[in-house]
Subunit: 488 residues, 2 copies
């Protein structure tokens, strides 16, 4: 690492810093945060140039000069082969930092190039939660071998974390924290902190207080250790009864709990209130990002796995089931129109409004279902106020329905000049809007009521239901009101 | 506040804690994070009961017993009047904590009940960034009066923050931080910390290091102050060249920067690199939540302001412009079918496939645009790899198009039994899928290329374009291939 950016005076009299302090760890190339895409792209091109000319030394220098966050961004557009070439050049501690950030496909290719001991060393360098995530990606035999090759302490931590379901508090938490008891002094709490490694200290904001059975009773914020005397008792300095989550709480609820209470570190306890881990703010940020992407994906009918996927074939394969499912659902609309073909033949002008009716039904269904899915995710709408939300949507739908009905009747007068057709269209729109609004809001609310994540079944499903029902309303009403013969 | 939950031994020999430590601040009712909705609902009912019986003392007790985060959640379903009744019973410091969390309508009603001095006192109690946000909600005259009534120090901080655009780093940052210089000692840095209030210390994780012109040169993490000797120099303890953002950076970019680098606190500098504020992790969480809601809203064609809105009328008013806009767009599809009415009259069976074609175009447009909008938001897709993403989508569209075309041809053989119609439908679907995919991915990418937030113009706009074009492809192809007379 070069030192030319540093502002440190070069004073030989300065005493040595404590052993576990890695001063100037942040002395990496600082990129302009207002122009990150361009900076990352320039670095990507630089990497490619060095890779093409096999200049390993330059590749290594450039990689070491970047923070793990920036390096993982720069690597994203590179191929798996290029990525592994670069990563293999890094020393283990730097590599471990980057591994927590990059995608799993590059990881598995890299691991094929390393032997079990090298992988074990790497995972020992990583925070325990990231290490457990990486091991969970390995196949069972390789995972067992890697665990066996790890140091006893790290192995037991990672093995413990592997027991928890990945999308729970247990799956998010790490083991890098330190505890003290109420009867200890500030100096003893500080001594406990000195036992942590520099990398772990960076994510430590509290010393947790436990009783003699390991149950969480308090927390001492670091600032209190900084500003108080060393002989003060922990019981005087601690905040009693801190907020916590239980180990099997769903990660989405962990994230909203942390956000609601502005927590930067969440202690995790088992069912006996014993402290078993802590979740850091950066993991909460990642969960929120993941969950928002999941909601959008479900609403749009795509799978989360396709994000970051480079192969068109795999993307097509993941999208086709959604599309073919919607196609099968649309057979209902085809059957409806097929059944009423005689009516349509008698008044072909009815046909020209079909796209408009379908589009309105679709727009309203999407508006309603998105508002419900997002409202449930952010806590804006909850289990105990579903009825109130449905009522609000019903009120909205009445007003929207009347407005759209009037607009639609006016449009049809313009094109067809037949008041009876305008009447059919106005009435159709009113009913379609009411149905689409109730289905759009009601289906996700019902799913939520019965414990199903509403985002999963919402998007294409509601659209299809709306299409079929709106065609039925339209041609059914038209056949009745215009006295057209039916039957296909 | 009751003390019955506390685990502190009742020992009279314990010496007094420093003045600015508010021990047991967290001694509030601890709710079960796995069952928060139910707990909040039970508390809501309890509040209503006390409110109905005008039992002010019980209302106050209950409100004081809850953390600000929980209280604001419990208040959410209550009316503005009920909310203000409860808030008026709180002492200023507790009230200030809650105000940062509740919505602006309750706030403005509450402020109508308070005089200028009371409002000024409340804002002085709040973190400077939240205080500035509240003042920004007041009308100009009231804002000026409140500012004039505030203490000099808080006034100047809040007035400074009011200069920055709300959705930038400057609009997010607070002034509660402390600095030292490289030549000072750890003890001097600790003394600077002691100057902060307890509430501000809770959000302090670094002492920032500045040079004699106030330019940011480093940061000292609190843990280093804890574990090192008091006479060590700041220059030995600090991390040089810390990551920072400039004051006018967009808040969305601040959030992704913080997430990419796992920052729990982001220093903000002006264009001369002078430290002017710091952004805390909880604000980053709020921005991410806000931005995800914004993306979903735009894709669905609803406004962000309707979240939390109780009035059906206001929701309807905010949704109608989107819907009427889409209706106007759909006039294109009506005009196309109107123009080809003679073709449709000659072969009415063509009509029954219209919903299916439109539905497929719609689904594919939404899939593509959502993936692009979300990918741009998370950084998965960036400015310099737009072409690569478009190519991936084109490849996907070819495979999806062929599959859907074959399925559609099979469906039409089933219903109409006419190979020439199947051929028309197959070809139509292939072209429709290609167009819908290109428009769905291409329009948001183009908007991004020219600096427009693609989420704004995406959802209903793309759907409408797809509908019109797909109808044109379908009836145009049918007229040509089946030798039907055209002209309306």
């Amino acid at each position: 690492m070069t030192d030319d950016n540093t502002n440190l005076p070069d004073n030989p009299d300065i005493p040595d810093t404590p052993d576990n302090l890695d001063v100037d760890k942040l002395d990496e190339r600082v990129l302009d945060p207002g122009n990150l895409d361009a900076e990352h792209h320039a670095l990507e091109l630089e990497f490619r140039e060095y890779l093409d000319s096999d200049n390993e030394e330059k590749v290594r220098e450039l990689a070491l000069d970047l923070s793990p966050g920036d390096l993982s961004e720069v690597l994203r557009p590179l191929s798996v082969e290029e990525t592994t070439t670069i990563l293999k050049l890094l020393p283990p501690d730097e590599l471990a930092d980057v591994l927590s950030e990059i995608d799993n496909r590059s990881l598995s290719v890299l691991f094929e190039l390393l032997d079990v001991d090298e992988i074990a060393d790497l995972i020992e360098e990583m925070p325990s939660d990231d290490g457990a995530d990486v091991i969970a990606e390995l196949d069972q035999d390789q995972a067992a071998e890697v665990l066996a090759a790890m140091d006893e302490e790290e192995r037991s931590e990672v093995a413990e974390l592997l027991q928890y379901a990945p999308e729970t508090a247990g799956g998010l938490m790490g083991k890098e924290y330190t505890t003290c008891t109420e009867k200890q002094t500030a100096a003893e709490a500080v001594a406990a902190l000195r036992g942590l490694e520099e990398g772990d200290l960076e994510e430590t904001h509290f010393v947790y207080v436990v009783d003699n059975r390991g149950r969480l009773t308090g927390r001492v914020p670091l600032y209190r250790l900084v500003i108080s005397g060393s002989d003060q008792l922990v019981s005087e300095l601690m905040e009693a009864d801190p907020l916590y989550v239980e180990v099997d709480l769903d990660q989405e609820e962990v994230a909203s709990f942390a956000r609601m209470h502005d927590l930067i570190s969440v202690p995790v306890v088992d069912h006996q209130m014993r402290l078993v881990g802590r979740i850091t703010a950066d993991d909460v940020l990642d969960v929120m990002e993941e969950e928002a992407t999941e909601d959008i994906s479900h609403l749009a009918g795509v799978s989360v796995t396709e994000f970051g996927e480079q192969s068109s074939f795999r993307v097509a394969r993941s999208r086709l089931p959604w599309l073919l499912g919607a196609l099968v659902g649309q057979l209902g609309a085809v059957a409806v129109l097929n059944h009423f073909e005689a009516s349509l033949e008698a008044r072909v002008t009815l046909v020209i409004y079909i796209p408009m009716i379908m589009a309105m039904a679709g727009n309203i269904g999407i508006q309603n279902s998105s508002v419900v899915v997002r409202g449930l995710a952010t806590g804006e709408i909850d289990f105990f106020h579903l009825g109130r939300h449905l009522l609000r949507e019903l009120g909205t739908a009445c007003m929207v329905g009347v407005s759209i009905a009037v607009a639609m009747a006016a449009v049809s007068m313009m094109f067809s000049g037949d008041p009876s057709i305008s009447l059919v269209l106005g009435l159709t729109m009113l009913l379609v809007v009411l149905f689409a609004a109730l289905a759009g809001a009601g289906i996700p609310l019902l799913l939520h009521r019965f414990g199903v994540d509403p985002a999963v079944a919402t998007g294409p499903f509601i659209t299809t239901a709306n299409d079929v029902v709106s065609m039925l309303i339209y041609v059914g009403l038209a056949t009745q009101m215009l006295n057209l013969g039916s039957g296909g």
